[in-house]
Structures are given as structure tokens and as C-alpha cells.
Amino acid sequence: MSESQTDMQDLYRELILDHSRNPRHFGRLSDATHTADGINPLCGDKLKLYLRVDDRGRIESSSFEGSGCAISVASASLMTVTVTGIGIDQAESYFEEVTQRLTSDRTEVSSDSSYDKLQALDGVRAYPARVKCATLAWHALHSALENKTTPATTE
């Protein structure tokens, strides 16, 4: 197996390919309390994020629609899995965590064990041109929680 192909398989890990092929929480949420659009103008990735947040600030359910590359779809799918059932504060701190982790050279692993799955996205760090794909859904999450009306972009 060539060296370059090995690398590639660090980006396209099994978990990523699985989530991109079978995205979880895919579709529209009819009773959403928060929504946001995300656009990556570079490659045309587009998604719409739906959240239902209950009175106590807990994300009861979440889903997304749209089209994009394997990385952006997998990231969105992983995100909805991660944030469903947690409080919006914790969701925001995931947003911080993921975006920082992918855009800095920080390599230490978060102590938070629920971050485990998200480590599947770490392969993206070696592909700076793709980081925006991985963070798109997270920016949309942040926008939705902030109730912004303009589409989130990753610029």
C-alpha cells in the first residue's frame, strides 16, 4: 500500500465513511425551535440544521439536510449525534472545542470522554483545505444557538 494512500485513510476513516454514507439524524425537523443555514462557498457544501431546544435549554432533538462532501456530511452527522440530549451550553463548548482543535496545532486529547467519537475528525487537520468542510456544521450549530439570520460560512 502506498504511503499516500495510508494518509488518505487517516482522513477517510471508517467512521467518517460510515457517517457520510449513512448520515444519522438526516432530514427535516418539523417542530424545530432553532434553525440555521451553513454554506461553504469554496466547494458548495450546503446544509440546513434543525434543533429542538426545550424550556430548560436542553437540545431534545436535532437533524440536518443538505448536500456536501464526505467530510462535511460525516461531521454534521457526528455533530447531531453528539449534541442530541445535551444542554446548549455544553453544545457551545463542543463548538469551541471542535473548531479550535481542527484549526490549531493543539493535539492533546480532551479529557471529556464524549469527545471520543469526534476524534474521527482529527485526520482533517493534515488537510487544511478541508478543515472548513469539517467545521461547517459546527458553525451552523453556533449560528442556530445565537439565532443569527445570515447563513453561517466557514470563512
Binding site: 504511503e3 499516500s4 494512500q5 494518509d7 488518505m8 485513510q9 482522513l11 477517510y12 465513511l17 469554496l42 466547494c43 458548495g44 457544501d45 450546503k46 448536500s67 456536501g68 462532501c69 464526505a70 467530510i71 488537510y127 483545505a129 478541508r130 468542510c133
Partner: protein
């Protein structure tokens, strides 16, 4: 043309381009993204550096030696451009920052003052955003209407339907010479013939025309022709608007500033003559010097030789791509330049781009600033390999091999 001849010619051309001789991810670079921006021969890079080291000063405004040399170099490039596209006179060659500015200039200076609500601007479904959005803006400003001629599944303009859209409310027709996403060569002369008979001006977006075809604006018969330096092996930040002198003459200036005036007072300002009326401010002198050098380079090879070579290479690429399992081609016009869009199985173009890059193969992915084309085909983007005369069959083989890897990874 026999195969060995290609290989020889292309090898010598290729060696003129420093950027092509590097490794990317450990593999020799295969650059298949010239339609986005072409690489520059060493002669262009050196001409610019030499200009900056020896001749730089502001143009048009000085009597000292460097200023005179800079002006000669700058205006010398204009003469070369005139010759290259066979414009009638140098007054018709307006230097801009690129195709985008050239088209915006026509929208704002030719159309905006005269467009009436209900007038129409006719474009095609093939256009680059640069040949869509300026018209959307001016239509919004004036109440005019943007009318879009359809394309067929091969990516060709539906000419009959297009001609039917043209009526006595049509103010201008704007059409790509060569479409950037699909490579389609548009039937300019048919359109010009029809429009000319009705006195309707035609703007040709030549950004992808000039690098691939021998362009003679007088023979084409259009009224405006816009193109960019960086797509024709020259520098970024340079471009040309060619226009018929009568039309340019009748247009108000677009931007105000130095060089575009003869006299300024607070009571009355007299504009300079063509082409200076449209060249406000200090121009991209070094860039234009580089553009002149690029044209010199192209003329030495000959645009017809380039077109022939590319046609042959494109044919080879299409036949090789068709052998790849799961490939879908977009753009199969009967008259097509050496630009090819495709998708592989259900792999997103962006993922394809990354995987190919990892094999040293640089292609463009996404919507190519032609979202309506993507909408027409119901896709979000394509992978696009665009060939220049410095590419060769080996590059094509590297492309298809890399596509094989992509299939493996996404198997």
C-alpha cells in the same frame, strides 16, 4: 499530427513553465487547473522582475527616463494585445483588472445609463458568475430583465430557442466564447449574425476563449470582448475590454481619477480620449508588461498550433476517462475546448479533489462559479480537468490512475 511530434513540442513548451516542475505530496505535479488560472512561462515572470528592477516608474505622467521607459513598456503591451486579437485600433483596447471588471464596466457604463424598465439582457445558462451577476445588478438598478437561453444535455446552447428570445426589447446579448464549467464553444458567429441584423450589440466573455482559440474580434463580429491575463499565461490583476470605438466613444467614463481626464476644474472636467477615458488611476503596469510577454510567448507557438494540440489531447482524455468505471462526463458539446467536467460514482467532487491532490494531480472541484450550470444538471458540483498546451498524455494517465485510487478508497 503524429504522437511523437506532440510529445516533443509539448515537452519543450512544458519546460518553459517553472511551476510545473515541482512535487506535490511527493509526486511530480500534474496541473490540470489552467481554466481557473494558468501557469506562467519563465519569460513572463522574468519580464516582470526585470521591469521592476530596471524600468519602474509611473506611466503617462513623467518626462524622466524611467517614466518614459515604463510608459513605452506599458503601451507596447497594448499594441501587442491589439495585434493579438486583431482590434482595429489601440483606442479600442481598454486595460482592466480582469474579465470581471471588463464586464462590469460594460454593465455600468454602457447599459446602466440607457437601460429602460422592460428592456432585456439575454445570456445563456452556461455563463460564469462574472457574466451573470453584473447583469443582475444592472437589471435591479434599472428594472430591465435578464433572460436566459437554455442549454441541452450535452451542454450546448439551444440556438434556435436563444434566437427566439431575442426581440426588439433586447438591449444586449452577453455570451461566453467558451464556457468554463463545460468547455462548450458557443456559436458566436450565428448569434452575432442574428443580433447584428437587429442592431443589438453582443458582448463575448472571452476569458476561456483567448487561451484556447485564435481570436480575431473583427472576424467574430461582436461588439465587446472581455478577457483576463491570468487565464492566458499572464499575470493576475490584468485584463482587457475590447470594444468597438463608436460604442466606447459614446459611453460615459466608469471610474474617475487620474489619467482618465484631460482637464479637471471644479466647474468642468473634460475626459481623456480612448482608451484612457476608461483607465482611471495608476494601472497595473508590471502586470501589463507581463501580459505583453505572455502574448509574445503565445504568438511564438501560434494559437492554431495550440488549439490543434489541445484538441488532440482532449480527445485522448475523454477516451481514457470513459474507460474509468463509474465515470459520468458533463459537457459533451460537439464543439468543445480542452476542459472536461466529470463525476465518479457517488463520490463528492470535493473528496475527489483531495484524493487526486494527494496523488499530485491538481484539478478544480465544485461549482466553478457557474452554479446555474450545476442546477441545470441537478448536481452540486463537478470535478474539472482543464488542459493547456503544456499538458501531455502522461498527465492524463496520471489523472485516470488517481481516479482509480479514489474508487478504491470509496469502494
Amino acid at each position: 499530427m503524429s504522437a511523437p511530434a506532440h510529445i516533443t513540442a509539448s515537452a519543450s513548451w512544458r519546460s518553459d513553465f517553472p511551476a510545473l516542475h515541482q512535487k506535490v505530496h511527493g509526486r511530480p505535479l500534474v496541473y490540470l487547473d489552467s481554466a481557473a488560472s494558468a501557469q506562467q512561462p519563465a519569460s513572463v515572470i522574468d519580464a516582470i522582475a526585470r521591469y521592476e528592477r530596471e524600468d519602474h516608474a509611473n506611466v503617462h505622467r513623467g518626462v524622466h527616463t524611467l517614466s518614459h521607459r515604463a510608459t513605452e513598456a506599458y503601451e507596447g503591451s497594448r499594441d501587442r494585445i491589439r495585434d493579438f486579437i486583431n482590434a482595429r485600433s489601440r483606442s479600442e483596447v481598454v486595460l482592466t483588472s480582469g474579465t470581471t471588471e471588463s464586464i462590469n464596466l460594460v454593465a455600468q457604463s454602457f447599459c446602466r445609463p440607457r437601460l429602460q424598465a422592460g428592456d432585456k439582457i439575454v445570456i445563456t445558462h452556461l455563463e460564469h458568475h462574472a457574466n451573470i451577476v453584473p447583469w443582475q445588478l444592472v437589471c435591479e438598478q434599472t428594472g430591465a430583465e435578464l433572460v436566459v437561453a437554455p442549454i441541452n444535455d450535452r451542454g450546448e446552447v439551444e440556438l434556435e430557442q436563444m434566437l427566439e428570445l431575442i426581440d426588439d426589447r433586447t438591449f444586449l446579448i452577453a455570451v461566453a466564447h467558451v464556457a468554463n464549467a463545460l468547455g462548450t464553444v458557443c456559436p458566436i458567429s450565428r448569434i452575432v449574425e442574428h443580433a447584428g441584423a437587429r442592431g443589438i450589440p453582443v458582448l463575448v466573455d472571452g476569458a476561456q476563449g483567448v487561451p484556447h482559440l485564435e481570436v480575431d474580434v473583427q472576424a467574430l463580429g461582436c461588439d465587446f470582448y472581455a478577457f483576463s491575463g491570468h487565464k492566458m499565461f499572464g499575470p493576475t490583476g490584468t485584463g482587457v475590454l475590447w470594444g468597438r470605438e463608436e460604442l466606447l466613444d459614446a459611453m460615459p467614463p466608469w471610474q474617475g481619477g487620474g489619467d482618465m481626464i484631460l482637464e479637471v476644474s471644479f466647474d468642468k472636467t473634460t475626459y481623456n480620449e480612448l482608451p484612457y477615458k476608461f483607465e482611471a488611476g495608476t494601472p497595473n503596469i508590471a502586470g501589463v508588461v507581463g501580459l505583453g510577454a505572455a502574448i509574445e510567448y503565445l504568438q511564438a507557438i501560434g494559437m492554431q498550433n495550440i488549439a490543434d494540440y489541445e484538441h488532440d489531447l482532449h480527445t485522448y482524455m475523454v477516451s481514457e476517462l470513459k474507460k474509468v468505471d463509474g465515470i459520468r462526463l458533463f459537457g459533451e458539446a460537439r464543439d468543445q475546448a480542452s476542459v472536461q467536467s466529470f463525476l465518479l460514482a457517488d463520490i463528492h467532487s470535493h473528496d475527489l479533489g483531495t484524493i487526486l491532490d494527494h496523488q499530485g494531480v491538481a484539478i478544480r472541484t465544485g461549482h466553478h462559479c457557474a452554479m446555474p450550470v450545476m442546477q441545470r444538471f441537478g448536481i452540486s458540483g463537478t470535478a474539472r480537468a482543464s488542459l493547456a498546451f503544456y499538458n501531455n498524455r502522461d498527465d492524463v494517465d496520471r489523472l485516470t490512475a488517481a481516479l482509480g485510487k479514489a474508487s478504491e478508497i470509496f469502494a
